[in-house]
């Protein structure tokens, strides 16, 4: 459960406020907002990279302030996927996914057999096994993005935050990514995921509950019509 209480988000000025909102475990939420409305800024605050300007934010049983101080605990609570990963020379897909185990490893970064099993299993579940030993620059955008999802999954956190994870993907890869995200949530009722998106149609089609940034506020819509969503977005 993610709980917002009078949360103020922004760098120096308050960009948006979330007065009282609780996001239940076991669900996938889509964050919708226009360009510059503060989607990324809000997500940065949720993952603890940007301190709140005010209010309280609880991630599970920890406050975000605690998690900002305790790096390792934060990495065990929150996984993050960016909209794009360009690939790194000599970094194979397997090694990239394996980085998700970092919060559980010693200083030498050696993977234990249990870590290796987990990585192999997640790679197989996302149908990436044949690409595992390929260097990441040689993969397609879609394959790399699934790799980022795999990395976040092996991180084994109750919360996953994704910042426009599908913006560089084609229609089929978008759907694949969303389906994989939904099945990750369904596998364990303690899990929550928030992703930002501009793809309102796909979110409505998949009946994903929406968090809409409208007029510097966050509006929660359990079931929405496209008209309602557009009306809220116009207000911002």
């Amino acid at each position: 459960m993610i709980r917002f209480k009078n949360v103020q988000v922004g760098y120096t000025q308050v960009l948006l406020e979330v007065e009282d909102l609780a996001l239940d475990s076991g669900r996938l939420y889509a964050l919708i907002g226009r360009n510059g409305s503060g989607k990324s800024t809000l997500l940065k605050s949720v993952i603890g990279q940007l301190p709140l300007l005010g209010g309280h934010l609880d991630i599970g049983k920890h406050s975000i302030d605690q998690l900002i101080k305790d790096h390792v605990q934060r990495a065990r609570e929150i996984a993050y996927v960016a909209s794009m990963f360009n690939g790194i020379e000599a970094l194979t897909l397997y090694q990239y996914v394996a980085l998700g185990r970092s919060p559980y490893l010693g200083a030498l970064g050696r993977l234990q057999p249990a870590d290796q099993n987990k990585i192999t299993e997640v790679i197989a579940r996302l149908d990436l096994t044949r690409l595992a030993s390929k260097p990441t620059p040689e993969l397609s955008d879609g394959e790399r993005q699934l790799g980022s999802l795999a990395r976040a999954i092996v991180q084994d956190t109750p919360l996953m935050v994704l910042d426009e994870p599908a913006s560089f993907l084609d229609y089929f890869n978008r759907e694949l990514l969303l389906d994989q995200l939904q099945s990750w949530i369904q596998a364990d009722s303690r899990r929550t995921a928030i992703f930002s998106s501009h793809d309102i149609d796909l979110c409505l089609e998949k009946q994903i509950p929406l968090l809409i940034l409208s007029n510097k506020k966050l509006v929660f819509l359990e079931k929405a019509s496209k008209e309602k969503v557009m009306e809220l977005l116009r207000q911002s």
């Binding site: 993952i47 990279q49 790096h71 390792v72 934060r74 990495a75 065990r76 929150i78 996984a79 993050y80 960016a82 990963f85 790194i88 020379e89 000599a90 970094l91 194979t92 090694q95 990239y96 980085l99 998700g100 970092s102 919060p103 490893l105 010693g106 200083a107 030498l108 970064g109 050696r110 260097p135 991180q155």
Partner: protein, 314 residues
């Protein structure tokens, strides 16, 4: 992982063979056999080749990691220049008290650390690889110019001392100093090994490394400290040696095809040592005809490889 083990084994065996060859060539050339000469000249020279090669390529690997730039290295980014400048200040401008060996080494390390910190600060402001390399080059020219100014003001004897130091030499390390440099390089290697997890995570960027539980600021400071320790102390004892720190870590990644820094650190250390031992064997073999400074040969062997890497990146 298996391929990495094979490469490590092969490079380690080559290093042992070349190190033995180094001792043999040295002996044949100078017709020296007494135990005293062996311990006073041969061993320190071999040790300084091994330590300088290992330390410089390790500091190159570390810098390439935190700058997220495969073309970074202690020489191109001005860490050596910082050390050189401070050395020049000590040799040319310092009082007699400052001229003790320890102060030369600590001055070089301080200069290296300041230069590394400055370049890192600049790298957070400019993201492009080209700009950063040009700034490193300008920094080197700038420190070089200051050295020239100092030289015009100094006594001829001091200028000569600095000139010889600037050529780079593996013969300056005395038997008494060898344990110091060995300790510093070992500290550098052990310190790096303790950061393998953080270095691996930093490969995908600071933001992501933070999300993986790495205390990025602390790691960055520690890496700069180790780089300055390695590049600074080696530069102090052996002069500014170019290309080792840039070329060897790139070779390591290309051959091992990995971003796991445990094999990368070990391979860079061994192959860096191997590289300078080979260079010094060549210097010894060519000695009857011409006496080459280290820097000339590392450039002859290293520069084409680095140019090739740049071309391949296009």
């Amino acid at each position: 992982m298996k391929a990495a083990k094979n490469y490590l084994l092969i490079s380690l065996i080559s290093l042992i063979i070349l190190a033995s060859l180094h001792l043999l060539v040295f002996q044949r050339q100078d017709h020296m056999s007494s135990a005293l000469l062996f311990w006073e000249f041969q061993v320190p020279r071999l040790l300084s080749a091994i330590l300088a090669g290992a330390g410089l390529s390790l500091s190159g690997l570390l810098m390439q990691n935190i700058f997220q730039n495969p073309m970074a290295g202690p020489y191109v980014l001005g860490v050596n220049s910082g050390a050189s400048l401070f050395i020049a200040l000590v040799i040319l401008g310092g009082g007699p008290i400052l001229l003790s060996q320890l102060s030369l080494v600590s001055a070089a390390m301080l200069g290296a650390f300041l230069a590394a910190g400055l370049m890192f600060y600049i790298s957070t402001k400019v993201s492009s690889l080209q700009s950063l390399l040009v700034i490193g080059l300008m920094f080197a020219s700038f420190t070089g110019a200051i050295e020239s100014v100092l030289q015009t003001l100094a006594a001829p004897e001091q200028v000569k001392q600095l000139f010889i130091w600037n050529m780079g030499s593996l013969q300056q390390l005395s038997a008494a100093q060898a344990p110091w440099l060995s300790t510093l390089v070992c500290v550098g290697i052990l310190g790096s090994l303790l950061m393998v997890k953080a270095l691996n995570a930093l490969v995908i960027g600071e933001f992501q490394a933070k999300q993986l539980g790495i205390q990025v600021q602390w790691v960055r400071f520690f890496v700069l400290l180790l780089t300055a320790l390695l590049a600074g102390s080696i530069t102090a004892y052996c002069g500014p040696i170019a290309f080792v720190g840039l070329a060897v870590p790139n070779l390591a990644r290309a051959l091992l095809k990995t971003q796991d820094h445990l094999p990368l650190i070990l391979f860079s250390v061994i192959v860096g040592a191997l590289f300078l031992v080979v260079v010094d064997v060549l210097i010894l073999l060519l000695d009857p005809w011409m006496s080459l400074p280290v820097n000339v040969l590392t450039a002859v062997l290293g520069a084409p490889y680095v140019a090739y890497l740049m071309l391949k990146r296009q």
